[in-house]
Every structure is written in structure tokens, then in C-alpha cells.
């Protein structure tokens, strides 16, 4: 999964991002099982999948990896997830709210 991150961050950041529906993207994130490894808020899961949002990496890198993953992630081909579905999911990842800073969470400062 760390390889996944590395590859994603190394991808071109200027690629075009298609328009997507964040509300539908959230539903698809659940429906297609993305939440299983990455958490329902895309926060990442220990030993399963990295954090995907907020501030996701470039859409083109996400798309490339989802179609042809080089790590452990199961492939989501165009046969089962359309490009528009991916765009909606990407819009959801962009919409995820940034959490409070660690210093503002008392339980993480004890």
C-alpha cells in the first residue's frame, strides 16, 4: 500500500480533473467497497489501505492506479466502474473535510 501512495504522489499533478458529483461519489465509495480498505471517510485503514482524502492526488494518477494497481489493491476495471463513477468518487474525496489539527484534539495530546 505504501507503494500505492508513492506512485500516486509521483504522478503528474496537472492532469485534468473531470466534473463529478460528490454526493453520488460517497454512495459509490460505499457501494463499490472502497470503504472496506480506506474507511468510510477515506481516512485510511491500518494495514489495509492508505488515506485518500481530503486533498486527493491527481485524478489521472487515481484513475491509472485503480485500473491497473501495482500493489495489493484489487483492480477496478472500466467494465465494473465507469470513468464517470470514478469522477464522482474523486469529487467525494475532494469534499472530505480536513480534521482538526492534532494539537486541537485533547485526547491526542495526553
Amino acid at each position: 500500500m505504501r507503494m500505492f501512495l508513492t506512485i500516486l504522489f509521483a504522478a503528474p499533478l496537472l492532469a485534468q480533473t473531470p466534473a463529478g458529483n460528490a454526493q453520488n461519489g460517497r454512495k459509490l465509495f460505499e457501494k463499490y467497497g472502497c470503504y472496506q480498505c480506506h474507511g468510510r471517510e477515506a481516512q485510511g485503514g491500518l494495514g489495509t489501505g492508505p488515506r485518500l482524502g481530503p486533498k486527493p492526488i491527481a485524478f489521472s494518477a487515481v484513475q491509472r492506479y485503480v485500473r491497473q494497481p501495482t500493489g495489493q489493491m484489487p483492480p477496478y476495471t472500466a467494465k465494473v466502474v465507469s470513468d464517470q463513477d470514478l469522477a464522482d468518487i474523486y469529487a467525494f474525496l475532494q469534499s472530505v473535510k480536513q480534521p482538526p489539527a492534532v494539537k486541537e484534539i485533547p485526547l491526542l495530546n495526553k
Binding site: Q36, Q43, G45, L46, P74, P75, V80, P99, K110
Partner: protein
Amino acid sequence: MANPPVTNAKKSPVGRRNFLKGTVGGAAALAVSQSAPAQEQPAQQEQAARSATAPVITQEHDPATNVEVLTADRPGSDFMVDVLKALGFEYLFANPGSSFRGLHESIVNYGGNKSPEFITCCHEESSVAMAHGYSKIEGKPALAFAHGTVGLQHASMAVYNAYVDRAPVFMIIGNTVDAATRRPGVEWAHSVQDAAVLVRDFTKWDDMPVSLQHFAESAVRAYKIATTPPSMPVLLVADGDLQETPMRPGERPHIPKITLAGPPQGDSGAVAEAARLLVAAENPVIVADRCARTPAGLKLLVELAETLEAPVVNQYGRMNFPSAHRLNQTERSRALIANADVILGLEVWDFWGTVNNFRDQLHRTSRPIVKPGAKLIAISSTDLNTRSNYQDFQRFTDLDVSMAADAEATLPALIEACQRLLTGDRKAAFESRSKKLAAAQQEAHDRMLVDASYAWDASPISTARMAMEIWAQVKDKDWSLVSNNAWAQRLWSFDKHYQYIGGSGGAGVGYGAPAALGAAVANKKYGRLSVNIQNDGDLMYAPGVLWTSAHHSIPLLTVMHNNRAYHQEVMHLQRMANRHQRGITTAEIGTTIKNPNIDYAAMARSMGVHGEGPITDPNDLAPALKRALDAVSRGEPALVDVVTQPR
């Protein structure tokens, strides 16, 4: 006086029991059968049925009065209890079974239900898993009893877990070998020629004693074998006849002196070579899995790490290393192993998986993640007892130094050997390494806290938030985490051996809840707060452990990690669907535990356990935990149901 060989008794047509106590009166028995009043018909039928399989009808009589002897003062099971007391067992985990009814009665009455005390379980798998969990805290076995057939079949999964985990469990199973003395009907279904064969592939030793002297010697031998590393479960068959037959007047079988074997230590030449490699290494890494069997093991590993200023990666098979120690670099394990020139594996279950990357795609592939030329050193007692059938020994690893020995027992010699090789130059190099490691650890810790902050206010509740809400309530108490939880392992501060008990071993679901309770039983006398972060699917295997915890007033805080699924399997099914490019929305069929959702708090309350929840708002967690802890502080079990994110 030694018991005579049972073969002598068996030669008598009346059997050992009758030979010992009375006269043979086949004709008299027959007369009783013919003239008995109507209300005794069932007994007569049983006697008649016995006569069909046992041609000589027997009955015990007092020679002086010619009255049938129906009572006995000193059954063999009383002596068995003497043996169990001599072995120092505190607890016996079991649900009742007629094949060990004699032993059960002797435990309760002759033994006073103390040392061992009978802990009533609701499933044999729970009994053995509780004994497993107990051993992880106490470092010694507890007893588990079961029927030799139906009970052992229930128990077998838990026996396998203990075997893979290299944990000692002492099982006694009841059986009636002599077909001529079995009650008709069910007792036949509960009897077996070779009871232990069912679990022989994953126990270290078993025996079927045929005399009380034999029982005593085999019990002491079994205890010694179970506790000698690699520790594993052992099993004795307690024959029903041997349990229930009275002892002769003056009969005093000998209980052997109990002298445990010292653990096997690494060869001195191999220890010297390992020390040479470790001291000369620029980037050594110590990987510890089932290393610290005892509190001493934890201290020794700290001493070795500090001697070398080498990073330690904890694989959590045991409480190996303080989590906040500057050399605990578990968060950086992958990078450290990739950069290592020497890796020391201490009771590492899967060394191959530690130094290789495996990719679970359509075509399974792997590649090494260590640098070419890196030296691998293994100290593992598992090499001393490798079996053929069950494949828990993992893939074979290319090693440079291999010691078939107990790691904890070998650490003193290894530390001493390393210290002898230290020079001024090496100490200077170590000091430089230490500073870099401390800085890297701080960075990793900061990253970990940032990771924990994401989805902090989410519902379902994030597992990081749940772990930290629990930590806030327990950190100032004398706590013991009697379960696994990845976020707690990352974020809590562990520095005592009893604060963590490792994993199940065989990953057989159904271990978590009973093992946590067994550990809590062990913790009770120390006044420790036992905390169990409990997976929902695991609890549903045998939820009767909740009743056991209430019945015996075991203080235990259970917090449900309730993701409403066998989540590992959800992911596996998703992988298959994606691979086959179909039905990627169906992964929850057959893998989730919802519709209806289970009300774990209500379930707990129904069995006498304080129940809170379900909690879906993270802000409701702290008050619920406080209320639950109030119950635990009164010596009661309590459960808080938390609806969580998947992982």
C-alpha cells in the same frame, strides 16, 4: 502402595471395581432383576442391557451383611485431584460432561473447589481459549476439561490456536475405554478408542493412563512437556473407570517430584557468531514476535537493544518491548528492514514474510525487500518441534545463523557476547545511530497522531477515536489489554509484560472473547483492570462467555469493535469479484452481520453483564465508558457496544 497393573484387574470377569470392593453374585443379581418392584424397571432394563454386552452380571456386596455396596469413600478421582493440586493449577475451565463426572465431583467436594476452582463455561472451545488466555498472563497452564468425543471436537479449534501460539494448555478429557462397562446409549456415542488422535497433530504430547500411578506420572510429565519451550497444549485421557473405581484401603500412589526443565539455550558458537554480526552491523534490526515469554524477556530485550543501540520491530506475538522506548521503531518496520545489513529474528513466526513482499493478485508474486547480502539470524524454539500436517511453520527462509533454541533463554548469553565485542569505535557509531533513531521515532509518532486525527468525529466511530477514548479512561489505572487492537497497540503506552497478551496463534475466530476472559481471570487476583476490545464476529462464535464472566464476577471491560461484519472476509470477497470483473457490489453477501443489527448491550444485560450502547456518536463514548468502568470497579463485567468504522 502402588496400584497393581490394570491388566491384572481386567483379567477378572468382574472388572477392577468389583474385584476391589465386593463379591461376585451373578445369580443374586439375576434374582433381584426378576423380583424388583415396578418402579425399578428402568434400572432393571439398564442392567439387562448391560447383561447383553457383559455376560457376567456383577454386583458388589459387603461380605459381612450381603448388602449391595453402593457407596465409596476414596474414588480414584480423589487421587487425581491430589495430583492436580500438586501441580498448582488455580483454575479449571469446563462445561460439565458425564465422562468426567467423577473427576468433576472430586474437584468440587474432595478438593473444595479451590486450586483448581471450577469456572463454568458454555462451550468447550471457550474453555480451552480461556485457559489459553490465562496462560498468557500467568505464564503457566490452566486446566480445561472436556468430553473425550463431543467435547474435544468442540474444543479442537481452540487447541489449534494454542498450539500455533506456542501456549501451554493442560487438557483432561473423559472417556470410557472398557466397552463392557459403558452405559447403553449415549455413553457409547461419547466413547472412543483413541480419544487424543483428534488433536494429536497439534498437541505436544498426550497419554491415556490405565492406573492411578500412571496418571500421576503422566500428569507431571505432561506439565513438564507443556511448559518447556516451545510451549504447547498437552492432553491426558481420564478413563471413567479409573475415575470412579474406589482406591484400595491404604493405597497411596506416588506423585513424582515436579522439576520443570530449563528452556533450551542457543549453541555458544552460534551465539558468538550472531554477536559478531550484530556488533559489526551498521544498520541492524531486531524483530521480536513471540519472544518475551515472561517479564524477564521484556527486560532482556531492552538490554540487548540498548547494548547495540539497535531498533526493535515488535510483531506483537507477545509483550516484547516498551512502546515508548526510543528504540521501539515498529512504525518504521518496513523501511528499517529494507535498509538493514543484519536482521535478528527472535521467535519470529513468519521470517520469510518479514523479509519478502507478497502480492495477492491473480498471479501471486513475491520479491525480497531486504538488501542483497543482508545477514539473517533466527533464534526460534519452533524449530525444535515442527510437525508435518498442519502448515503453520511458514515458508522456508534463507538464514545465515539459525539457533533452534528459546530466544528469551538465549538473550543473556547473546547480550554478554555483544558486550564483550564492544570497542570505542563501535560505541561511537552506536551513539550516532541512536540519535538518528530517536529523531526518526519522533517523526513516526507525529505522523501516527495525524493519521489518528482523520475521521475523528465520524459516525460510525473511527477505531483510532475509540482506542483513545478508552485510553483516556484507563491510562491512570493498573490496566491490562487482554485483546488485540491495532490502534491501541500504536497509541497506548505499554511498558509492563501483563499489559498485552499477543494474538490467537491460529487466527481461528472465536478466540478473542474467551481468551480475554481467561486473561481477566488471571488478572483478578492482582486487582488489574482487564480491557478487551472485542470484535463482533468473534463474540458471536460463543457469546456464552458473557454469562461466565457474570457468573464468576470477573471484572472485565469489554468494548465492542462492532463493524457489523466479518470484515476480513468482506475484503477477500471484494478481491475475488474485482478479479472476475463482476458483482463488485455484492461483497457484503455472506460476510456481514446486520439486518438485523445485533444489540450487544442488550445481549450482555440478558446474561448479567452491565451493558452500554450501541454508541454511534463519538461524544457519547466517554460517559458510557465511565459508567461501565464504575461497574468493573465493583468487580463486575461490563460491555460497551461501539459501532465502528471497518478498521
